[in-house]
């Protein structure tokens, strides 16, 4: 027995050295301490009342019709003959069920539409395909809040779409008005469906074409072939995409905040957590912890339920082994007609981004379209210190987060791909886990964590007058956006033959030197693209920014300014749009640099 233990120990020592110990322990400690621990602590808070273990917060929630109302109230649609208006708002089933219904509908709609678009892109060749492709990716350009606002304007009873469909084309006999839950579903579906497209597309093009050919050989054709062969094989991608959409929908604050004028849009878990949190001061009610926990539990439950089919990745996988010649076919007239019928839908789903651009260059948006061409808004971002401050804060946080993101993901990915002991891949799983954890849950758990353990310090969020959110934001941003860089770096490491590193060690270089001189230079492009991508997503981050960041506006990031336009009626809509435009431009340049300049994949994700 002793001999065996000693043997195991020496084997372990053989793998370990100061560098590898640091590479394993630093990410592990940071994630345990700043992700797992705060979330667990929030769990404890939610299950405690007056210092004793208690289910009462949850009992209150689950017994209240405000939260759960299986019967439901109100009508999904209402027709008002006076105004010749079809009013679509959705039924109220209580906060929790509403959130689940919305998330399920959004992932269902996004799943179906995304599958359709991905299938067309992956299997057919037709004139205008590149336009089709670009349009289908446009909604991924980040412009928090403003994009939702654009949809809201477009769908107003006397907005552009009603004018077009009802007055000009006369395709609709009445005007349509989306609001409440229906509006949230609409906006989120429009914004998130490309995530399904990406994941499904990569599953489709990475599929061995002989599989489909085999199916054809056995007599399957058309829809039969699609249902029996193609769909099952692309299911992991489709499910992964839909799962991400489900989680993003659950944690989304953008749509509920912009539509919060309608009471139903406020009856969502995310908005409830948020508005409760903002309206209270000092020590927040444990009910907020309980609600955040429910949000987290929903996300994790769905994740676990379909985890067997899904490898959750922030972006499409690079195909293993040889690339096959994809099965691309020309479309017949009927097919072409179908594709060109979908095209307007894609244009439509890109309207929010176009609208943001238009709004950024306009003075007002009162009628059908933004009016009054101006560059004043854009100039304000840079010259008006009350706006530029937010931009500078955001960029600073993003730069600091970047350093943390790159170092930690390098360490963790290296451990996962190079170290030979059980549990090495656990570290990889740990640093990619934030993708399945709602940002709201992280933000709320940080509030409790820092106010409990750092009482009276500048990072104590209750200590309002001296509070500096910067360290918390940087930390939270880093953890939330780690998966992007980690995936890019991991992919890079897999392409570097281990022999190259072994040759260096073999010549006497220790692990750190080997990594510095051989590994890191060889994956520098992956590191760079991971860094640029996470930078953009840090700047566009919403949940932490508007939960923790706004506690001291002096240090708030730019998404906090963008939120204020809707919640506090401070600031200008057009300037928010200009900030959105800036963010989209940053993202576009990063996409161009990584895909064209660095020949890397760009990792997409929602807000």
């Amino acid at each position: 027995m002793m001999v065996w233990v000693r043997g195991r120990f020496r084997r372990l020592l053989f793998e370990l050295d100061p560098t590898s110990i640091a590479f394993i322990s630093i990410p592990l400690i940071i994630f345990l301490f700043f992700l797992i621990y705060p979330l667990s602590e929030m769990l404890v808070i939610a299950f405690t009342k007056d210092g004793n273990p208690s289910l009462s917060w949850f009992m209150d929630i689950f017994t209240s019709r405000f939260y759960i109302d299986p019967i439901g109230q109100g009508a999904i649609l209402e027709y008002s003959p006076d105004y010749n208006l079809l009013y679509i708002q959705g039924r109220d089933h209580g906060v929790i069920l509403n959130s689940l219904i919305v998330a399920a509908s959004v992932s269902g709609i996004a799943g179906l539409f995304g599958l359709l678009v991905a299938f067309i892109l992956a299997r057919y060749e037709f004139p205008g395909k590149s336009l089709f492709r670009v349009l289908s990716m446009t909604p991924l350009l980040l412009s928090p809040f403003v994009n939702v606002f654009v949809v809201k304007k477009l769908f107003e009873p006397f907005g552009l779409l009603n004018w077009l469909l009802h007055e000009v084309l006369r395709a609709l006999p009445f005007r349509v008005y989306f609001d409440g839950l229906a509006a949230v579903i609409l906006v989120q579906s429009l914004t998130f469906y490309p995530i399904v497209v990406l994941n499904t597309y990569s599953a489709l093009v990475n599929m061995d074409p002989t599989m489909e050919e085999q199916g054809e050989n056995l007599g399957a054709k058309g829809l039969g072939l699609f249902l029996r062969v193609t769909l099952p094989l692309s299911l992991p991608g489709l499910l992964a995409g839909s799962l991400l959409v489900f989680i993003f929908s659950l944690e989304d604050l953008g749509a509920p905040i912009v539509f919060h004028g309608h009471p139903l849009a406020r009856k969502l878990i995310s908005f409830q957590v948020y508005s409760r949190f903002i309206s209270e001061t000092g020590v927040r009610s444990p009910e907020i912890a309980a609600l955040s926990l429910i949000l987290l539990a929903c996300a994790i439950a769905v994740f676990i339920a379909i985890k067997n089919y899904v490898m959750l990745r922030p972006y499409a996988t690079v195909s293993r082994g040889g690339r096959w010649k994809p099965r691309l076919r020309r479309l017949g007239p009927a097919g072409l007609a179908a594709v060109y019928l979908i095209l307007p839908l894609l244009v439509f789903s890109s309207l929010p981004q176009l609208g943001v651009v238009a709004l950024a260059f306009s003075e007002r948006w009162a009628g059908l379209l933004p009016e009054g061409l101006t560059t004043w808004n854009l100039i304000q971002i840079f010259v008006n210190p009350r706006v530029s401050r937010f931009l500078i804060n955001s960029l600073t946080y993003a730069l600091i987060s970047l350093v943390i993101i790159i170092s930690l993901s390098l360490m963790a990915s290296y451990t996962a791909s190079r170290m030979r002991f059980r549990g090495a891949s656990l570290i990889d799983a740990l640093i990619t886990s934030p993708i399945a954890i709602p940002g709201i849950a992280i933000a709320i758990s940080y509030f409790y964590f820092f106010s409990n353990h750092f009482r009276g310090t500048p990072v104590d969020p209750i200590n309002v007058l001296q509070f500096n959110p910067a360290p918390i934001l940087v930390l939270g941003y880093s953890l939330r956006r780690m998966p992007f860089a980690a995936r890019a770096i991991f992919a890079g490491l897999q392409q570097v033959h281990v022999n190259l590193e072994e040759a260096a060690m073999n010549l006497g270089a220790g692990r750190l030197r080997t990594i510095a001189r051989v590994t890191a230079p060889l994956i520098s492009l992956n590191i760079l693209s991971g860094a640029l991508t996470s930078f953009v997503y840090v700047v566009g981050e919403v949940s932490l920014s508007i939960i923790i960041g706004v506690l001291n506006m002096e240090y708030a990031p730019m998404t906090a300014y963008m939120r204020d336009v809707w919640l506090s009626a401070v600031g200008s809509l057009q300037i928010a749009a200009a900030l959105g435009l800036l963010l989209m431009l940053m993202q576009l340049s990063v996409i161009l640099i990584t895909t064209v300049g660095l020949k890397q994949r760009y990792a997409f994700m929602g807000v």
Partner: protein
Amino acid sequence: MVEVRLERVTKRFGRVVAVDEVTLSIRDGELFTLLGPSGCGKTTVLRIIAGLELPDSGRVYFGDRDVTFMKAYERRAVMVFQNYALWPHMKIYDNVAFGLRLMRLGRGEISKRVREALEMVRLEGFEDRYPNQLSGGEQQRVALARALAVEPEVLLLDEPLSNLDAKLRVEMREELRRLQKEFKITSIYVTHDQEEALSISDRVAVMNRGRIHQVGTPLEVYEEPIDPFVASFIGRASTIYGIMTGVEEGLAVVDSGGMRFKGRLLEKVPEGSRVVAIFRPEDFTFGQEAEGLNMFEGVVDTVIFLGAHFHIRVQVDGVELLARVEPRMVPEKGSKIKLSIDPDQVKVLPTPNKS
């Protein structure tokens, strides 16, 4: 400059036993070759010696030092990788200088030794190129220079010449042999080319499926293979299974179906045991009828042109014999032929236990 010993070293990858209870002793300054078919575990043995792989059991010694658990970068056992493993982002100069810089040598010393190493492999003037601007053979030689430059205690060569053309390969292996003797570097050379193994090694170990079958000088493994695997892997051989029916004048009498012949017993076996006889193609003579020779008569089945000579396959009583023929006496395919072999050249071994 050091003796290398492996004691009962075993390494498994999942179910595959890549190295199976290998015990080897490589003498100080010796050029030792591991010879065996693809996938038999040669590279794994080298990686264990280099410290890139930890054996599941067994020990590795450099001299008296137990280095089993010593890390790769603490050993001075330098490997030339089968796939070269040149760093694509470094120029040839920096590739070769890498190990020297780690030794904290002066700048002048480094550039002198890089130049010398590149000269040894005949790549003077390639310093400023990147590996992808070199041919496969040139890259292989850079890998060799990179290892030689640091004057290692143990040099591990994993098929270092496999990508060179025939002529350069012969030149390089002679050069390698010369350098190895000059610097007295204990070297372990991996190849599956038996000609290469026989021509440069002090000693050869023949491996198959993770096991060492025989260790000996090239002549020993050629002349006295201890089992059919070694016999057929070193040089060409026909192996014929049969029963030893007796001993006459010190020679074993073997019965194999319709065939009866005599041969030299390499290992004592009781009468009636199953044996295997090994015939080398070059030991056959034709048309010769003398007392004491084994005589066979058969039909030529195949004629194989090998450049300087031919091989023919002859069917004798349902058994196939491979024989070497000079170009001017190549028989017709399908013709009848008589061939004979001196019983002293026929090696008779007990049949190995099937494992």
